[in-house]
Symmetry: C2
Subunit: 378 residues, 2 copies
């Protein structure tokens, strides 16, 4: 079972000198590795390979054949992946890299259907296939999409792979969208140079150990250490300082901003406890106040109290409306005393949305452009 | 100066009862607010507004006019945003929401030009304009792009806005790409329902306080608390446990996975210190070993030692090649004793790439599909 799961991921399985563990280094499976026993999954792969042996592109099933594919046959091939058992529509996301771009874009597009996704009026399943860098597996996935009546969204750096996907989708009548080619081609025209055609993580691509990579790691480490008011003496080292009462989302927001390379500190405001002196001594243009609707805050605190196992007494002070109103008022007074701090209303906002507001302000204060923007140089 | 920076962000500036701070609630500026003094930036906005007064779409400048726009004029409009001073090409990213989808996609596309970006053979600047939800500001940005010779990439939920962008880019001869429309239309056809046309964060959109939102917050909190081997008694509550020697990127990787909703714990392996017993008692299918090339690790540790202010003695044990090799050997022996743990080589991989490998394995172990995939239900 263990070997089976190892083999089924698309990573090279090598046998290092000192350890029997698989080292996952590049995305091609190596079925020749002598120490690995065959498994049902390996058998399935081998069977599939032998059927397709020697041919890059299998002859597509005709529309008629496709329509008569039996449910049982699909179930057999799906191997327990009962992706369609709730009758929703499937979206296949195929990538030669991590697949996060495809996932991100599909999630954004699905946001346009929130109104029927929430009440399951239009149920959807997404399936991400990452590291797909040979045409054989690509065809396998598109064929499966045809069987399941799924649509395919792909990001494939190599133009011949993208073209194969487009053609196969056309032949098998699978609705499909190429996410990266239009923008990549536009950028190529704009810059006057050709795209490399190499997927993310390919050996020819530049190392991830860039300046940007180290900056992000450093920002994350700083942000974790500063979380929840720890080490106020380091507040001045932060790019951005968030402050607000408990459960205004300071921590997840800090982490999100850190991922983007900003060092973030957060200072909780608790009624009856003095905010650290350092908060008022640092550059006030770095500080952002967070506020929230009291009713929503109460809901969040109830959930929190439940998680922490609070009951009765403890709940009273933390999630009682009277206490919440007083605490928000206390925060509001503090914000009033520091008029440079922008106060951001987080009610109903996703972390990404609050982050967008903060970074727009932050960058604008730094650059003072006529139209607020976040600029980067490559 | 402070008021200027407040006004220039695209947020409503209201005056709450108890505080003079601006509350940023929706993305339309309210120039009527009586308490705010005029600023150079406000003046510029008003001037621009009065020029355009009453007209939704300004008459496009002719190609001739466009080409004769003086450098000084652009500089005046740019207001100190010297985006073109290194002679690179600009990419404008325009969004009615956070703009992260546009940013993510452009970054992925730029990955195809790594080979000339690194040595500045094809220098590029990106400029993100988020929360652009009226046609007037949209036109302003596209006009500016035309002046600067920039290309425009946009994600606009409302179809009339997307169409305006398309037309304006055509008239002003600005190369442009619509990122979301193709995939949104494809999804609409697939689901048989229409997109809402509402940008992210619009009042009609569903609240961000969804199950997914709480799950992510909880995962982030758990992951931060568990960081660096803290609370080994809670290891069994994690979805994923990462282990490896210092500087194999456990923390940033944990945080990245937590953002995706997985509870992650990480356990550092230090030579001479026994790994916590709990690591060997939990479900071994949750544990992932990280390993790295010793030379690369030494470079990273040197940088780390410098940051921490280590010199001489301290540096010896932490970043000396002999010590590094022994420590990696120790980790390797431990991995060998736990053959179920996959060992992932992180050398030269971006956080996202390692995360993709781990999640592919994790999901595959859970679902045992014939083709490894990460599935989600909406």
């Amino acid at each position: 079972m263990i070997i089976s799961s190892r083999l089924s991921i698309s990573g090279t399985i090598t046998q290092p000198n000192s350890t029997p563990n698989p080292k996952i280094e590049d995305p091609k499976p190596d079925p020749k590795s002598p120490k690995l026993k065959p498994s049902p999954q390996l058998n399935r792969w081998s069977r599939a390979r032998s059927i397709r042996s020697g041919r890059k592109l299998e002859r597509p099933v005709s529309t008629l054949e496709k329509k008569t594919v039996q449910r049982e046959e699909i179930d057999d091939e799906m191997d327990g992946c009962d992706v369609t058992d709730e009758g929703g529509k499937s979206i296949y996301m195929v990538s030669d890299g991590t697949g996060w771009t495809a996932e991100h874009t599909v999630t954004a597009a699905l946001g346009q259907f929130d109104y029927c996704l929430v009440d399951r009026g239009c149920p959807v399943s997404t399936h991400l296939f990452s590291g797909i860098d040979d045409v054989e597996r690509l065809m396998e996935i598109i064929k499966q999409a045809a069987r399941e009546g799924a649509m395919v969204v792909y990001t494939l750096a190599e133009s011949s792979m993208a073209e194969s996907a487009r053609q196969a989708c056309k032949i098998w009548e699978v609705p499909c969208t190429d996410i990266l080619s239009p923008i990549t081609e536009a950028v190529a025209n704009h810059l006057g140079v050709s795209p490399s055609g190499l997927p993310r993580g390919a050996p020819g691509r530049n190392s991830a150990l860039s300046e940007d990579y180290f900056k992000r790691i450093e920002a994350i480490e700083f942000t974790i250490k500063q979380d929840d008011g720890a080490l106020p003496q380091n507040l001045h080292k932060a790019d951005i300082v968030l402050t607000g009462v408990s459960r205004t989302g300071k921590t997840p927001l800090s982490i999100y901003l850190a991922q983007k390379g900003y060092k973030v500190a957060n200072v909780p405001l608790v009624m009856g406890i003095k905010a650290p002196k350092a908060l008022f001594e640092i550059d006030p243009e770095k500080v952002f106040g967070l506020t929230i609707n009291p009713v929503v805050l109460q809901t969040i605190r109830w959930a929190r109290a439940k998680t922490l196992g609070f009951h009765g007494e403890a709940k009273t002070s933390y999630s009682e409306m009277d206490h919440i109103r007083k605490e928000l008022e206390y925060a509001s007074t503090l914000f009033a005393q520091n008029p440079v701090w922008p106060v951001i209303e987080v009610t109903g906002k996703a972390i990404e949305e609050t982050a967008a507001v903060i970074l727009r302000l932050y960058q604008d204060r730094k650059n003072r452009c006529s139209m607020p923007r976040i600029s980067k140089r490559y």
